[in-house]
């Protein structure tokens, strides 16, 4: 108790109240509280050190990324839209594949039916992919027109998170009609069945406008799930007469009226 008394007298002196007996009691209580807090603090620090030592026994095991479990949402009753002129459409997921090493995810997004021949010119419908949006941000591609360089939001802010993580392969007609978005060129485009694992020449996607979106697993980019993709594309069939005739004639998506029944 002499130790506490010494401390007490020191504290009392420090506070300038050591001469009063009641002040001595208060000082004693303060000293007791301070010592208890010190002891608890020391105990906690000791326990924390022990816990840290336990968790670092196998650091490799705790750092392995377990990936994400993905589910896609296809709809077997959804009708494929028909696009005339310029429009922005989302894609319908019609296939999804995972690479063998599970680091590449491929989505097939069916965008539109391919329309027929223009009455006005006699040419087939031609499509141009004007812009492609990823999670509401416009994709700026690298020079190959496939690999994402960066994205731009509505305010013009650039986001480089998707760089080299996202690739978009565009097709206008079937699997063997690859093309790149407007203002890009690429002389070494390949068929869709050469891009998607598990696809063969029987995977033709006949008379369809579609895109294959490839995503490399990258938690840093935040793209670990199915992204929301939108496609702004232009169909060369824009004249009302061409459109009306095409829609009347088509048995695939239109009225299927026999050509002989339409006076053109």
């Amino acid at each position: 108790m002499s130790f506490f008394k010494d401390i007490l007298s020191g504290v009392g002196s420090f506070l300038g109240i050591g001469s009063a007996s009641s002040s001595n009691n208060i000082g004693l209580e303060l000293a007791k509280t301070a010592l208890m807090a010190f002891a608890v603090n020391q105990t906690n620090r000791s326990l924390a050190k022990e816990n840290q030592a336990l968790t670092t026994i196998n650091p490799y095991q705790s750092r392995v990324d377990q990936g994400v479990r993905l589910q896609v949402d296809p709809d077997s009753d959804q009708k494929i839209p028909v696009c005339y002129g310029r429009s922005t459409l989302g894609g319908i997921i019609t296939d999804a594949r995972l690479s063998t090493d599970q680091t590449q995810m491929y989505y097939v997004l069916t965008i539109s039916e391919r329309t027929g021949t223009l009455l006005s010119t006699g040419a087939d419908s031609a499509y141009v992919f004007n812009d492609i949006f990823l999670n509401d941000q416009r994709i700026i591609f690298k020079s190959d027109g496939i690999t994402c360089d960066y994205t731009i939001d509505r305010d013009g802010n650039k986001d480089f998170g998707a760089r080299d993580v996202v690739k978009v392969y565009c097709y206008a007609g079937n699997s063997e009609t690859p093309q790149v978005p407007e203002y890009y060129s690429n002389g070494s485009l390949t068929a869709a069945y050469n891009v998607l694992p598990g696809w063969t020449a029987n995977h033709q996607m006949s008379d369809l406008i579609f895109a294959v979106v490839q995503i490399t697993y990258s938690p840093e980019s935040g793209l670990t799930s199915v992204p929301n993709c939108m496609f702004n594309l232009t169909n060369s069939m824009t004249l009302p007469g061409d459109v009306l005739l095409d829609y009347l004639r088509s048995e695939r998506y239109g009225c299927g009226v026999a050509p002989g029944d339409i006076n053109t």
């Binding site: 994400v68 589910q71 896609v72 077997s76 296939d95 599970q102 033709q204 695939r252 998506y253």
Partner: protein
């Protein structure tokens, strides 16, 4: 619009043309005497034929029309049952006649097409007369206009293998759509040996 102000009295008759595959073209009217339109002679059925009301609209709309033929001998019913009446094209024309002379009015728009469509359905109703010990049949052709046909037409390719293969039998692009529902992909997960 047809100007009929110069005629003190007129009469109208409806002429029905039904082309039944395999049977031929049935041509009949509620006119009192046989009449020829576009080189085709229409049989006069008079009062045993009745046609439901038709509407005239500027805007295209779907409409239905019932054509009823009554007093048909039951032995002639086979002609209805043995052939593909459903889907047969139907055209109904109206001709305006001078009520006094009985001749068709020589004006523009006469005859006029009142209805164009197909036989959507038909019904038979047999009536037995005990006194004469005979039976006769009433046939009701329920017809749908071409607009109605277009409205009811189901077109468009759905994203499933059935629709895809109906159009392109060898195309396997959408074979996996049903199996993708509920499927899990362990994206980015380490491979386990």
């Amino acid at each position: 619009m047809i100007d009929l102000s110069a005629y003190p009295s007129i009469a109208t008759s409806l002429f029905v043309r039904i082309a039944i595959p395999g049977l031929g073209v049935l041509k009949f009217s509620d006119h009192s005497v046989p009449y020829t339109i576009n080189s085709e002679s229409y049989t006069s059925l008079g009062s045993i034929m009745s046609i439901g009301e038709t509407t005239s609209e500027l805007k295209l709309s779907s409409s239905e029309l019932n054509i009823v033929l009554s007093g048909i001998p039951s032995e002639n019913i086979d002609a209805v049952l043995d052939y593909k009446v459903k889907g047969a094209p139907v055209q109904v024309s109206r001709v305006l006649f001078d009520a006094v002379t009985g001749s068709a009015l020589a004006i523009s728009g006469n005859p006029a097409t009142k209805f164009k469509g197909i036989v959507n359905n038909f019904g038979l109703q047999e009536s037995y007369e005990s006194e004469s010990r005979t039976s006769s049949v009433t046939i009701n052709f329920a017809c749908t206009s071409e607009i109605g046909i277009l409205q009811n037409r189901v077109a468009g390719r759905r994203t499933n293998p059935d629709d895809q293969k109906a159009l392109y039998p060898a195309d396997a692009s959408m074979d996996r759509v049903p199996s993708l529902v509920g499927a899990n992909f362990n994206f980015g997960a380490p491979l386990r040996n």
